[in-house]
Amino acid sequence: MRYLPLTPSDRAQMLARVGVNSIDALFQDVPAFARFDGPIAGLPLAQGELAVERHMQRLSHASVAAGSVPFFCGAGAYRHAVPASVDHLIQRSEFLTTYTPYQPEMAQGTVQTLFEFQTQVAGLLACDVANASMYDGSTACAEAVVMAARITKRRKVVFSGGLHPHYRRSARTLAKHSGLDIAGLPIAIDDEAAVLAAVDQDTACVVVQCPNVFGTLTDFTELARAVQAKGALLIAIFTEAVAFGLVKPPGDMGADIVAGEGQSIGNALNFGGPYVGLFATKDKYVRQMPGRLAGETVDADGNRGFVLTLSTREQHIRRDKATSNICTNSGLCALAFSIHMTLLGDKGLKHLAQLNHEAACETADAVSTLEGVELVSPSFFNEFAVRVPGSAAKVVDAMAAEGVLGGVPYSRLRQEPGFDDVLLIAATETTTADDIAALADTLKKVI
């Protein structure tokens, strides 16, 4: 077996050194009834690289790759062009096959890149401080909610109707079992600010999203002040990080905690994962923040170095008193994010965001002029919602049959009366004029 260096003679020598006759002697503590004689049945035996690759290639070909067709899906995951150097660099052995940097003296590469990542994320979101990443945007949202409850020592959570349903559902799962009460507001295309009405003296936080799941942009500045005046925290969620090259960032609106998805920058679609959760907050809340943090320090010679820090918040030190049970971040995805950000810089990011917005504007014009199609997002960045005649899910399936991946029906995220006809359409810098024409033609044909 190509991955196992021991030869039969190695094994014999080593067993002799251990002083046992057979490998079975090392499994002596396993109850006899549970021991197998040979390989477990029902599974294939070892295969060479060529055979395995053939199998995986067959499976790969059984899906439609986004890049092979006109493509307009978003709703929390976005197809962007990632420079080739990003994927090359994250595959370097020293990044790919290293461990969590608990031994910082031999992991400065990882810790310094995390420190740079934190700085970039804080800058992007206009927040005081960011952590070294979370699993993804949805779990970051869930952690933000329980963090707000910890800070405020209150038990009620208010979700806006514009929040991505998967985020709402994931946060609800964690919050409910942390003993919190959930107040979910009705689904609404443009009513983020309505959360204020639901805030009372029990409210730990309100959770809003911008751009929201329908693409709508809302300025939370006033809302944040009002919420904070009632002793609650404003949590601002996002699913498209590229937006903040062009759109006012949540930190500039006064959000207390900002959490969202960083996949758009540096990371592929990957059928939903792995992604990279971004998480930022105000300085004053840093010790209540979940997840890893890299910090600057000095070594014994006084030279600058970086370490993981504030780990007394974490499970491996605090056990049942930890701020979270998390013991993994999304390190390599965070590195990809950071490298892509470094290549973009402020200038490139703004340019990229502009291209995204223009592609979406052109797409919106092309589809909203079709008979029966109504643009319902009052404002948007690179994704917008339209209402189509009948079921959006059926329209999407019909377009797929024509070779166009024309967007995501809202019903895919949440089955809600009155929203069956809502179709979410995203465009990015990868969208071409031909793609837009194909979308409009196909949409016209199938409705």
Binding site: A34, F271, V286, C361
Partner: protein, 493 residues
């Protein structure tokens, strides 16, 4: 050449990407245009590549040498797995494409599920948890959902051995349980009599690692499972050490109700400096109805479907843990690993991992003090009694290993052993590599005993940096780069 931060070498008007010109279309941002700078400088591509290549060389990695890290299982990461994960049918597929266009991706999930259920002897698997601790959360939430479903919401006490990983108690608390610790017996295993005294009708279950964190198989595992079940609780098994028995023993046969599987340990998806991981959770027949969405089901015509919305009626699953469907990129890597090894190779890998650990223990026991007698599983555990009087601590010893070109072993864990040193070589190390490691450890041990304390207390001497001041970092945290101008302004104020 020193390693600067990108903020020190980059320029705010420089970029390492070329994009087509913008058209000047009238924005539809509802007036919400960004006015502030992100403050993030750009680098040209040559500068960026050099920055990251140089930084990478300040890391140690499994491709450079051994990580004898107990409980963390740093094994070889095959490049075939990386190549497969990047096939367009996996990497360039959107999670919300129509189901008819993602049949290949669903097949990956279905095949992986089949492997996981077969290897564990369990009835169901929830793939979506994003990491080991997230998988624990999944399993414990399923237990809570099952208890609630049978009207036993009062069962909120979870038994956790004192040797457990920190995630176990943290997870239990996050699910609304309270933790009750079980003592360890002198042989490093669960103290059965202590366990018995802790049982009661408020017990939700037990969280147990097997092989446990002392590297030992819990001989009485079936008795423990039966006791818990008789008491009305569920048996959660922490799967972090599944790699010792995968392909050889099925946890389902031992009475386990839920167990997460670290794809990034047992099935070798790369650690990547701390993630992304993946923690699918297998469930017994009793807990199977309480799996979260989404999950893959087979249609009558043989095609696959994805159930993404909670059922309304029976089962009452606890909901959704995450957006989309989990760590597809890890599924493809793990499945590639499984297909490559086969049922026979996976068993052989477990056996080699156990053999390697026992070989290390046998060769080092004359120089260091094993924490327990007899053979071990995939980890060899030592305490620090052999360092008594040398003036060298476990930490010092670990840092001195860095100077010898090794990543330190896991230290001060499990907590039940004083100054613990937990060594897991994994099956990826050759005998020659183990012999070199044993020689180094032996020579270090002799140096420690011979009074050469400076070699240890000042270590590392030969790493890219000297020993770092972690206390200073925590006391006044500097968590992002601040422009020097701003710093002097703050100082002046």
């Amino acid at each position: 050449q020193p390693t600067s931060l990108i903020f020190e070498t980059g320029a705010i008007d420089r970029t390492g990407v070329d994009l087509p010109p913008v058209k000047g279309i009238k924005p539809r941002l509802g007036g919400l245009a960004r006015t502030s700078s992100t403050g993030n400088p750009g680098l040209s591509e040559p500068e960026a590549v050099r920055h990251y290549v140089r930084l990478s060389q300040r890391n140690y990695a499994i491709d450079l040498g051994m990580f004898p890290l107990g409980s963390c299982t740093m094994k070889h990461n095959a490049r075939l797995n990386e190549k497969m994960a990047r096939l367009p049918g996996f990497a360039d597929v959107h999670p919300l494409q129509p189901i008819s266009t993602v049949q290949g991706a669903l097949r990956v999930m279905d095949e992986l599920s089949h492997w996981l259920m077969t290897l564990t002897g369990m009835q169901a698997v929830a793939l979506s948890p994003k990491a080991g601790a997230h998988g624990e959360l999944c399993g414990m939430l399923a237990i809570r959902a099952a208890l609630d479903a049978r009207g036993q919401a009062h069962r909120r006490r979870v038994l956790v051995p004192e040797s457990a990983h920190g995630t176990n108690p943290a997870t239990a608390v996050q699910c609304g349980f309270v933790v009750d610790e079980i003592k360890a017996a002198p042989d490093g295993r669960v103290d059965l009599s202590d366990l018995k005294t802790k049982l009661g009708d408020d017990v939700a279950g037990i969280m147990l690692t097997n092989p446990n964190t002392c590297g030992l198989f819990e001989r009485d595992i079936r008795i423990i499972a039966d006791l818990i079940h008789e008491a009305g609780g569920y048996f959660y098994c922490d799967g972090a050490n599944f790699n010792a028995i995968a392909g050889a023993v099925r946890p389902g046969d031992l009475g386990v109700d839920a167990m997460h599987i670290n794809l990034h340990k047992t099935f070798s998806t790369p650690h990547g400096g701390g993630g992304p991981g993946s923690g699918p959770t297998v469930l017994s027949a009793a807990l199977a109805p309480f799996a979260p969405v989404p999950y893959v089901v087979k249609r009558a015509d043989g095609s696959l479907d994805l159930i993404e919305h909670e059922a309304d009626s029976d089962g009452e699953p606890f909901g959704r843990m995450v957006a989309f469907h989990g760590q597809m990129g890890m599924y493809t890597r793990a499945l590639t690993y499984m297909l490559s090894h086969g049922a026979d190779g996976i068993r052989q890998a477990s056996e080699d991992a156990v053999l390697n650990a026992n070989y290390v223990q046998a060769c080092l026991k004359a120089h260091m003090s094993p924490a327990f007698e007899g053979v071990c599983m995939h980890e060899a555990l030592f305490d620090d009694s052999w360092l008594d009087g040398t003036g060298v601590t476990t930490l010092d010893f670990a840092k001195a290993m860095i100077d010898e070109g090794y990543h330190p072993m896991t230290m001060y864990f499990p907590l039940v052993v004083h100054g613990a040193m937990l060594i897991e070589p994994t099956e990826s190390e050759s005998k020659a590599s183990l012999d070199a490691f044993i020689a180094t450890m032996t020579s270090l041990a002799q140096a420690a005993k011979s009074g050469d304390t400076a070699r240890f207390t000042g270590a590392p001497h030969h790493a890219p940096v000297k020993r770092l001041d972690e206390t200073r970092a925590a006391r006044k945290p500097v968590l992002k780069w601040t422009p020097p101008a701003e710093i002097s302004q703050i100082a002046a104020e």
